[in-house]
Subunit: 433 residues, 2 copies
Amino acid sequence: MKPVKVGICGLGTVGSGSFNILRENAEEITRRVGRSIEIEQVGARRDNPSADTSATNVTRNIFDVVNNPEIDIVIELIGGTTIAKELVLQAIENQKHVVTANKALIAEHGNEIFAKAQEKGVMVAFEAAVAGGIPIIKTVREGLSANKIDWLAGIINGTGNFIMTEMSDKGRAFDDVLKEAQALGYAEADPTFDVEGIDAAHKLTILASIAFGIPLQFDRVYTEGISQITEKDVSFSNQLGYSIKHLGIARRTAKGVELRVHPTLVSKKQLLANVNGVMNAVMVKGDAVGPTLTYGAGAGALATGSSVVADIIDVARTLTADPDNRVPHLAFQANALSDLEVLDIDEVECGFFLNMTIQDRAGVLANITQILSTNGISIESLIQQEKGVSDSVPLVVMTHTVAEKNMNAAIAKIEALPDVIGKIQRIRVEALI
Amino acid sequence: MKPVKVGICGLGTVGSGSFNILRENAEEITRRVGRSIEIEQVGARRDNPSADTSATNVTRNIFDVVNNPEIDIVIELIGGTTIAKELVLQAIENQKHVVTANKALIAEHGNEIFAKAQEKGVMVAFEAAVAGGIPIIKTVREGLSANKIDWLAGIINGTGNFIMTEMSDKGRAFDDVLKEAQALGYAEADPTFDVEGIDAAHKLTILASIAFGIPLQFDRVYTEGISQITEKDVSFSNQLGYSIKHLGIARRTAKGVELRVHPTLVSKKQLLANVNGVMNAVMVKGDAVGPTLTYGAGAGALATGSSVVADIIDVARTLTADPDNRVPHLAFQANALSDLEVLDIDEVECGFFLNMTIQDRAGVLANITQILSTNGISIESLIQQEKGVSDSVPLVVMTHTVAEKNMNAAIAKIEALPDVIGKIQRIRVEALI
């Protein structure tokens, strides 16, 4: 069979990783695919010392790649949502297949891009957009295709997980670990994207669509970061047998779909609670298979390149297939996407970990438990520390499942009690069973 | 698109699970595939109360299914390697695609079956043959296709893992837990297949082939069961921070391929050591992606049925594709399989946990460490218990990596020492990094 020719746009971390895998594993890949995959052209504003392009046709204008008639598959690795969108749409217009690692592009503009790809009969593959080297898109879209997916929950931002792991293992403060993550190159100078959960929300948007067959709805994801988590929260959670993880969670309920990114207490008995450092992992619960977990590197040149190149191989294999028989972009046929409503966070139900400071006086605990009970909230466990030098002591309450709005009502009333000092820290708890 | 018609042969646990998934998730599956998947016929010697076949064409002769001209895909779920082989070969001869959950059939006769399927241009899919509901075949063959796979290691027998977990968590004896496993239906009346590692060796044979692109070589797998593991082994391992797991391990080295199933000490810091009960998990280390792990239910009607039905969907999707462009049965093109040698167990290198009983006399430890050192074996850690009422005390030694033949030579010499009582229990140790 004749070689498949690809053009790589962008030669940053993922671009150079993908370039190097295609070169170094060329023989192994040809043994798999039965044809060679050749890098016809690279488009990049500047060279990257990690990728030796001395024998490659390099252009400074990435649109040369998209308009190169020799190229079958365009690999979009420039990032961002403006030029990248233009580039991908032009590639589709030119009847080229596209492979991308761009989570923001797919989460925010995927509906438009896939509609155009469908119209033109080309594929847009995006395994590398979620959880780096973990083949989670393929797992959900193909490996678990027999299932109705009930829910999924993942550690899908390595920077956030590195921070939470350091805080948990070493009792360090958020700001302290963030500085180290920046020094190590895990976190950007402006860490908002990672620590406030925007990156995870992009990935969750994509996972939820392929799990439930709903359109991409990034603007409907409830997003809460980890910057407010304190050493005390971590230490009390540990005492209760839980780790705090920054999770992206999507669940299908009778009322609609939950889409949320927030710090979450997970029992240490769960594998997910033991996923540490910059590693990623995604649990998926299907109605037939039960709970599953997939774990691996969520970032890095070669790990993310692994997913880019796997997508290239997949696309190469289906070049001759009837487009109607391909795996649909969002796992379900475009005309079969469901209009399941995305629930408001107020409607979401989970357990809660409440960390508060109270005046240690008679009756205060009774008042608090009374308010919880009145709002239909039952207590699973409780830590009340002995009085120290001051009259104010911490009180930690872990509750059973309750609707967010009920918890909000209860918290407002508890915070209004004269013996409750300041705001209550509230972190959601998930059983993941 | 017109419906895809399947015929199910065998209506036992996996047969009824697959039947029920195809019926209960029919709407979701049609939304995914864009065409319906219809059960045209079921062949089974007897009915199964778990599957309501009252509206289905049922035959008592499974070969009716294979010869039914309406059927596109034959689902072989009868098990065994005699009639099942005949059935699958006849289906292929009749130009029908095949989906099977039969690990023994694929491990022992896969080379012949795939050659015939290749010749006839049909697919034989076998996701359900390894690790039940975990899509590990797809993960290795497609999700990680960009990688040279360095090694894989898996808990791929749920019965064995249930036994090891109970022994570890509760200090129970092997025979005691085995009896419970039999009562619970996890283990057969003759448990040899599970506890002596034959079932795991079948699965490992398949995994190694698709990881390295080598022919199926079941007869080359070194297999050691868990029936000789004692409560003391488990308890000393725990003290050293390790769990004993029954692993299937395949590794590509400069000298050849290692293929082995045996009890293995795994650090508790590894997720794999925390996979408990009947659950399965497989670690795969690729040169680009690094270490990955996939976890889920390794058995059960619906979990295994999840993989059977996912295979049916995959086959349905590629019915119109050029056969040359399909994912090859063993991940690599049939004419590109490698003749990498499978190493003899003597050549395998790993760490060792040695559990022995010694007379607590001056000089005995010096003699033992001298023998280890002479054979190029360095000690990683050591537990020497204080003398009790008797003169004989346990001595546990954990070593760094060494070739098996060197360890055998050292063990023979140590066992010959007058102060070493009886045989030395030896369990392999893997770092899995």
